[in-house]
């Protein structure tokens, strides 16, 4: 870089910084998105699989919903399914949602009076699935018009850990092609219930409107 002959005087091309770096400027938002996604692994690793986050189907009052979802089977009930992804396909219909005066018998212990300010609803569902479908972690939820979710917990308030199985069921596998269940849910007295959700721990669930 010393004594070169002076190049012929030439006007610098009118290309600004933005223009010269156009590719990098365009890639910047992409890089930001990739960086954010890479540091948000907890969302899909922990949050997404735990809880009802994905509405598989939403049907009107009186209609039948199809819940079809893959889950990872640990083989607790069916050893040959151990450590495989299994598709759970279940048809759900709401047959009735009725208010009751008393809570049903708890799974263990003495009968419990209805707490002050609470109302008992009995949700009856008709379910259909291939026999030996895994029904564990079943959640039957009443959703109020303000979005409050009642009865998400499994086992339910009376300690029944098998909410989608018939009362006399032995284990978590379905035995009949079609069956009915009734689940008790405590709801705030003034709440207006608008829909029922059914899921199996998540992330998928189906929503059924109430009349």
């Amino acid at each position: 870089m010393t004594t070169m002959p002076e190049p012929p005087v030439q006007a610098p091309p009118a290309v600004g910084w933005w223009r010269r770096n156009a590719v990098w400027v365009a890639l910047l938002p992409v890089a930001l998105v990739v960086a954010a996604a890479a540091s948000s692994f907890r969302i899909w690793a922990f949050w997404w699989p735990n809880g009802l986050h994905h509405e598989v189907q939403h049907v009107g009052a009186g209609e039948t919903a199809q819940l079809s979802e893959e889950y990872y089977d640990l083989g607790l009930d069916v050893p040959e399914r151990a450590n495989t992804w299994v598709v759970r396909e279940i048809e759900v219909a709401v047959t009735s949602v009725q208010r009751a005066e008393e809570l049903p018998e708890p799974a263990y212990g003495d009968p419990v009076p209805v707490p002050d300010g609470s109302a008992v609803y009995l949700v009856s569902l008709r379910l259909a699935a291939e026999p030996r479908t895994d029904l564990s972690l079943c959640q039957i939820v009443l959703v109020a018009d303000d979005g409050t979710r009642y009865g998400e917990k499994s086992p339910d308030i009376m300690g029944n850990g098998n909410r989608c199985s018939p009362p006399d069921a032995d284990g978590f596998l379905s035995t009949e092609p079609e069956w009915s269940v009734t689940s008790p849910i405590l709801v705030d007295e003034e709440a207006l219930i608008s829909e029922v959700r059914v899921g199996f721990g998540g992330p998928g669930y189906v929503t059924l409107d109430l009349p």
Binding site: P13, R20, P115, G117, S118, G147, R149, E152, L186
Partner: protein, 208 residues
């Protein structure tokens, strides 16, 4: 041909190094614990219902005991048991209340115990009020000015489970002059399992 070829310039290098250094300094200087990750503390006295957005909480009673009794075991305090009855009312959906600590006037933390049938944590849903009894084995010098810290997030290192989430801090109302009486109490308290609260949490405070 000055502008047709890209090259490393001193100015550009200095800019990059400077920006990197500035960013590192910023990350190190910003007090994460006290600003960015600080929980949203909702304070109140015993008897008042606190709104934590995910639940309403009412601390209904504070007692001390030397012995706790439940249907299956009896526990003797190393110091004295601070026994706190609390009522939870979840507002959105099913929720686990995992954090339970007593913080004394010096800032020391005391964990809840499950001895004597007490609750270290509990869970609840909308639709009913849920009562749980928490017990803390504390030394005499922790009593005066002690506060109760309950939340859905766990305690633990730097309250990592409570970052940017609501936390209830309840002044247990223990003054220096109450200490002798509370410490000398040799009572035995029967602990009940968590269960439906007999009265809704919102009425338990007797206020408003």
């Amino acid at each position: 041909m000055r502008h047709t070829r890209r090259r490393l310039t001193w100015r550009g290098t200095a800019f990059l190094v400077g920006a990197f250094a500035a960013a590192c300094t910023l990350v190190n200087v910003v007090p994460h614990g006290t600003i960015l990750e600080r929980p949203f503390v909702v304070e109140g006295p015993v008897g008042e219902t606190l709104d934590l957005s995910y639940a309403e909480l009412t601390v209904t009673e504070v007692r001390t005991a030397d012995t706790l009794e439940s249907s299956f075991e009896q526990a003797v305090a190393g110091g004295t048991f601070l026994v706190v009855d609390a009522t939870w009312r979840a507002t959105d959906g099913y929720i686990v209340f995992a954090g339970a600590e007593v913080i004394d006037a010096e800032g020391r933390s005391f964990w809840a115990t499950s001895r004597g049938g007490c609750a270290k944590g509990t869970n609840s849903q909308p639709g009913y009020a849920w009562r749980a009894t928490y017990c803390f084995d504390v030394p005499r010098d922790a009593l005066a000015g002690a506060t109760l810290r309950l939340a859905r997030g766990t305690h633990g290192e730097d309250d990592a489970g409570q970052r940017r989430d609501a936390v209830a801090v309840v002044d247990l109302g223990i003054g220096q002059h109450d200490v002798n009486e509370l410490w000398d109490a040799t009572e035995k308290i029967s602990i009940e399992m968590p269960g439906f609260a007999s009265a809704p949490a919102t009425d338990a405070g007797g206020e408003g």
